[in-house]
Amino acid sequence: MSLPYAYARTEADDTVDVTMTVNGSEVTLSLPARITLSDALRDHLGLTGTHVGCEHGICGMCTILVDGQASRACLLFAVQLEGAEITTVEGLGRQDDLHPLQESFSKHHALQCGFCTPGFLMSSYDLLTHEPDVATEDLPEELSGVLCRCTGYRNIIDAVDEVAHAHRDGLPGPGNCAQRTLVGRTPSGAGPAAAAEVATAAVPGHHPDEIALPTGEPTITVDVTSQLESAPTEVAQVFGDIRLLARCLPGAELTDELGDDWYRGRARIALGPVRLSFDGMAQVLEQRDDRLVLRAQGKDTGGGSAQAEIVMSATPAGTGVSLHAEARVFLTGRVASFGRSLAGDVSRRMFEDFARGMDRAAAGAEPDVGAKPPGAVAILVGALSDRARARLRSLRQRSRDRTTRRDRRRTPSRDER
C-alpha cells in the first residue's frame, strides 16, 4: 500500500482528507479519523454492498480487498487508506455480467438471506487469486474467516470449489472497476462536520472535468422514437434551452448552471413504495438544432448511483418531427437491484412523457407533462412562459455559436487530472 509521507495529523475534532481508489475510481473524502472504512464506504459513498455485522473483526461481513488482499473494512480507519486501492463487492461484477464467483454462488444456491454473500465473495476472490490450486478439503478452513448465519456453508463451498476448478490458471479480475466520478454524499442526520464530500464534485459551483461512463454493457439501454407535432424549428428552440428541456422531464429540476455546459439538478422518481431522488450533474457534449448529446450522473440518497449518456435527435417527419432518444444507463446500488426490465420500462415511459412535454414546450406552452411526481416540477411550472420564450430566442443564438466548438472535449488522461 502506498502511503504518503510524514506528517499527516488530525486533531480529534477535525476532519481529514483521504484520497483512495474505490472500484477503479479515485475519490477524496473528508472524514473524522474515527470513521471506519466500512462506514465510509456505506455512508459516504453509498456502497452498501459491504455489510456490517459485528464491527470488531469476527464475522467477516465487511470483507473487502485492500490492494488486492482481503481485509476487514471495520478494522481499518478510512484515514489509513490514503493512496490505497479498494475493491468492494460492487466492483466484482456487473448485474449483466457477473463475476464467475457470483454466477457460481447463484447456481449453487449459495446465498440464502445474502447477508454474508459479499464477505464470502471477496474472501474467496482473494483465496482463489492467491491460491488457485487450493484443494477442496481445505476450503472450509480457508473460508472460515466469514460466518454465515443461515449456515449455508455446504453450498458456499461447492460454489467456490467449482470456480476454483474452472480457473486453475487464473481467476478473472473484478469486472466492474472503471474510472468514473463518485459523488460523495452526506449521511442523513449527520452534522456538518460529518459531511463527506468528493473534493470537486460536491462544492457548489464546481463540476468535475468529465463524467466518465463505466466500460462494458450498460444496465439499461433505451431506444425510443416518438412522433411530435411540433415543427423542426420549434423543436430546435427546445434543444437550445437546457432549462426548458429539463422541465419536459417529469420530476426533473435544474438547480444550478455551472458554466461550460455543466448543470446541476435533481430528478425524482416515484414507483409505488419506491421513491428515488437523484442529485447530480449533467454535461452537454453536443447541442445542435437537431441533435443533443449529454452525460449525466446522479446519486440516489438511498445509496444508488446512475450514470447515463443520452443522445437525442430530431428528424423532420411530415409536418412534425420524429424524436429519437437513445440512452445508455449504468446503475449501481439500490437502484440497480430494481430489476433491469422494470428499470428499463420506467425509463422508456419517462422518455415518452418527456417527448410529450417537448411537444408542448415546442408549441410555446408550459411542458405540462403527465404523471407529475411530487414537488419538483410544480415549483417550476409557475415560471412565466413569456419570459421563457424571450430567453429561448437569445439562448438559441448562443447555442448556434456553440455548435462550432464541439468535439473538443475528449476524455483527459489520468495524468492530466
Binding site: 510524514a6 486533531e11 480529534a12 474515527r34 471506519t36 481485509s71 480507519f77 474467516g145 462536520a193
Partner: protein, 305 residues
C-alpha cells in the same frame, strides 16, 4: 452529532520516521497503531480510549524483513501474511508453522508480527514462537534502543516491558540450523479462534544428542517455556533413536502429564477448565515433540519446516 461511529474521538498522526513516531509517542495518551487487528476492536468496544493514535505504517524502515548474523529481522509493520509467504522468512520454519493459526487470511493481511508480540495476548501464537526461539525484541525509546530477550519480555496478560512511549521496531528470530526440527499445534474451538491451548516446539539434534524446548500458550497469562530435553531422552531410551512417530508419541506421553502439570497455571475460564487444558497440553506436547524430533533427523533444508 448523531453518528454511528464506535470509537471515542482520537487524534490521528502518521509520522514518516521512527524518530518522529517516538516524539509523538512521548505525548500523553498516545498509542501505536500497527495492523489494528487487536487495537481497533478494543477501540470499537470503547475498552480503550487513547487520545491519539500514532499510525506507524508510513515509516519505511519499519517495513523491512532483513537477514543478518543468523537472525531474521521482522520490522514493526511487516504483515503476518507477508511473512507467511516470504522467501527470507522461510529461514524461520517455526514462524511458517505457526502463522496459519493466527486468525484468518483477512486478519493476517493487516496484522503484524510485531503487533501480535507487543499486544501479548496470552492465547496468541506468535509470542510463544518468540519465546520458544528466544527471539530478541528491539525496542526504541527516547533514550535509545534496548534489545530484550524473550525470556524477559512478557510480563503478564497483554503486558510486556515496552513502555508507553517506546516502540517495538523489530523482532529478531534466530534462523534454523542444521539439526533443527520444529513442531507447532493448538486446539481452538474453531479455526482462526484464539487457542484454548497450544505448543511450539524446537528440537535440536547434534552429534552430542538432542535438546528439546517447548513454549506453551493459552494456559497461563504469558507463554510458558520449558526445557524438556530430559523427557525426550528418556522417551528415546524406550524407543531407540530412530523411532516411528506414533511409538515416540506414546513414549513421550508417559512424561506429558508431568509437563502439563508444570506449565498450566491458569485456573480455567468459561471456555475450558484447567484440567481440560492440562489434557490438551499433554497431547499437544507429546505429538509435537515427536514430530520435531523426527524432523531434526532429516537433512536441513531451508523453508521446509
Amino acid at each position: 452529532m448523531n453518528q454511528p461511529w464506535k470509537p471515542a474521538p482520537f487524534a490521528y498522526v502518521r509520522p514518516g520516521t521512527t524518530e518522529d513516531a517516538l516524539t509523538e509517542l512521548a505525548r500523553d495518551g498516545a498509542k501505536v497503531l500497527a495492523g489494528g487487528q487487536s487495537l481497533v476492536p478494543v477501540l470499537a468496544m470503547r475498552l480503550g480510549r487513547p487520545s491519539m493514535l500514532v499510525d506507524i505504517n508510513a515509516v519505511p524502515e519499519l517495513r523491512q524483513i532483513s537477514r543478518s548474523n543468523g537472525h531474521l529481522g521482522v520490522g514493526a509493520t511487516v504483515r503476518q501474511r507477508q511473512v507467511q509467504y516470504d522467501d527470507a522468512a522461510a529461514a524461520v520454519p517455526l514462524l511458517r508453522l505457526a502463522l496459519p493459526w493466527v486468525g484468518h487470511r483477512e486478519i493476517r493481511s493487516r496484522g503484524t508480527v510485531c503487533g501480535s508480540i507487543a499486544h501479548a495476548d496470552p492465547s496468541a501464537e506468535l509470542p510463544a514462537v518468540a519465546s520458544c526461539l528466544d527471539a530478541t525484541m528491539v525496542v526504541a525509546g527516547a533514550e535509545g534502543v534496548r534489545e530484550i530477550p524473550a525470556a524477559e519480555f512478557f510480563t503478564g496478560a497483554m503486558s510486556t516491558v515496552i513502555l508507553p512511549e517506546e516502540l517495538l521496531t523489530e523482532v529478531r528470530f534466530p534462523v534454523a540450523e542444521e539439526g533443527d526440527g520444529f513442531g507447532f499445534g493448538e486446539i481452538a474451538r474453531r479455526h482462526g479462534d484464539f487457542a484454548l491451548a497450544g505448543a511450539a516446539v524446537r528440537v535440536r539434534t547434534t552429534s552430542a544428542g538432542s535438546r528439546a524446548r517447548i513454549s506453551c500458550f493459552g494456559i497461563s497469562d504469558h507463554p510458558v517455556t520449558r526445557d524438556v530435553t530430559e523427557q525426550l531422552r528418556s522417551a528415546l531410551d524406550a524407543t531407540g533413536t530412530d523411532p516411528d512417530e506414533s511409538d515416540l508419541r506414546r513414549a513421550l506421553a508417559d512424561h506429558a502429564d508431568g509437563i502439563a502439570d508444570d506449565v498450566v497455571d491458569t485456573g480455567g475460564d468459561a471456555h475450558a477448565s484447567a484440567a481440560y487444558r492440562r489434557q490438551l497440553i499433554a497431547g499437544l506436547v507429546s505429538r509435537q515433540v515427536a514430530r520435531a524430533y523426527l524432523k531434526s533427523l532429516r537433512p536441513h533444508r531451508e523453508g521446509k519446516p
